[in-house]
Amino acid sequence: MMINLKNIQFQISAKTILKDINLNIQMGKTTVIMGKNGSGKSTLLKLLNQIIKPSSGLFESILSKPVPMLFQKPLMFQNSVNYNYQILQKIKKHQINHFWFEKFDLLSLSNQKMNSLSEGEKQKIFISRIMSFDQSQLFLDEPNQSLDLQSEKLLIDLLINEKNKKTIIITLHDFEIAKKIGDYFIYLENGQILLQDSYENFFKKFCY
């Protein structure tokens, strides 16, 4: 057990975003959170990473503080590609791993301005930014958005490689991709968990 949520509720100024959340995140496994737009996926992910605190309920985590997370709309800092990639290094003040940066073939973009890149290229930079830290837990909010098929395939292959060494919590829309990497699935609707189960059982129960 790595993160445990019991009867968690989260609301902002009288609006309830998450309700009756009970779940366990297992260490070393890949958990996929799915659901329609506005179902509360991003909020749940933020809560799991301790970016926000629950309004009520029990929250336990073996992590003492948040880890660098890929948000749904990652932040662009200024205009230089290099600056955006290395922003994390500046804050954390230790060396970063350029593996993902090179794998995504981003070296050629190093000297360009962020504004001149396509959405897909920007997204690859944001992903490499998070992955450059070799952390054991990955919190990823729709990492495949804006990516072309080739880049998406590359992303999935790279994530599959990391699966055994890391705990991954990821939100996705695409069920086919989810099946490729997920061990445990959670389906959210209107802020509540409609269904959660491991791979074998989830897709038996779930009609989509």
Binding site: I51, K65, P66, V67, P68, F71, L75, F77, N79, I91
Partner: protein, 214 residues
């Protein structure tokens, strides 16, 4: 026909007064704008609304308010600020500060929540967050400076009332335009007006040039 030394003097006074008032308002806008935008506190909505309403204060009113305070018969009369450039700076500050702080507050309220979340996940300290907030989007700050400065240098009424349009001392460009027009020298008023707009244009181009060079 155009008295060049006098015109240069007026330009110098305008630039001096408006630069200082703009810079002063700028730093206070960032300081208080950050505090107001990132914290919740009692009366926050009212203070923000009040600042917003002050953006449309007529220059003459701002001038009158300052005049009443620094006049001999007012509470700060003993400071002998009336008819000095410092009085003009204060009057212009009152006009542009609400505009600038409202812009800053809007920007921070828009950008800060997401910036904060993401940077907290990176383990950034409050200091890091503040630093990045300030250095991140230079564009908004330059725009705020430009809008504040534009309003300050072109206003007539505030600086005129508390400055007295005194030759060599407090007769800035707008006061000179008013005086020359009062003498019937309409053409000179137009020329001075064109010079004023040109100065604003130069500064505007300069700022936009540096903005896009980011």
């Amino acid at each position: 026909m155009l008295n060049t030394p006098k015109v240069l003097e007026a330009i110098g006074i305008s630039l001096h007064v408006s630069f200082v008032s703009t810079l002063f308002a700028f730093f206070l806008s960032i300081f208080f704008g950050y505090l107001i935008a990132t914290r919740k506190f009692f009366l926050k909505k009212y203070i923000v609304s009040f600042l917003g309403s002050l953006t449309s204060i007529p220059p003459v009113c701002a001038g009158l308010i300052v005049y009443l305070i620094i006049s001999r018969s007012g509470p700060l009369g003993w400071m002998e600020l009336l008819y000095t450039p410092l009085a003009m700076i204060i009057a212009q500050f009152i006009i542009i500060f609400p505009i600038m702080i409202t812009l800053i507050i809007n920007y921070i309220e828009r950008e800060y929540p997401q910036l904060k979340d993401e940077l907290i996940s990176y383990g950034a300290s409050q200091k890091d967050i503040l630093f990045l907030l300030i250095t991140n989007q230079k564009g908004i700050y330059l725009t705020t400076l430009l809008i504040g400065f534009g309003r300050a240098i072109s206003e007539y009424g505030a600086a005129a009332i508390v400055g007295g349009s005194i030759d060599h001392v407090t007769r800035n460009m707008t006061a000179m335009i008013a005086l020359e027009t009062a003498k019937g020298n309409i053409l000179i008023g137009v020329i001075l007006g064109a010079i004023l707009i040109s100065i604003s244009l130069i500064i505007s181009f300069g700022i936009n040039y540096f903005k896009n060079d980011d």
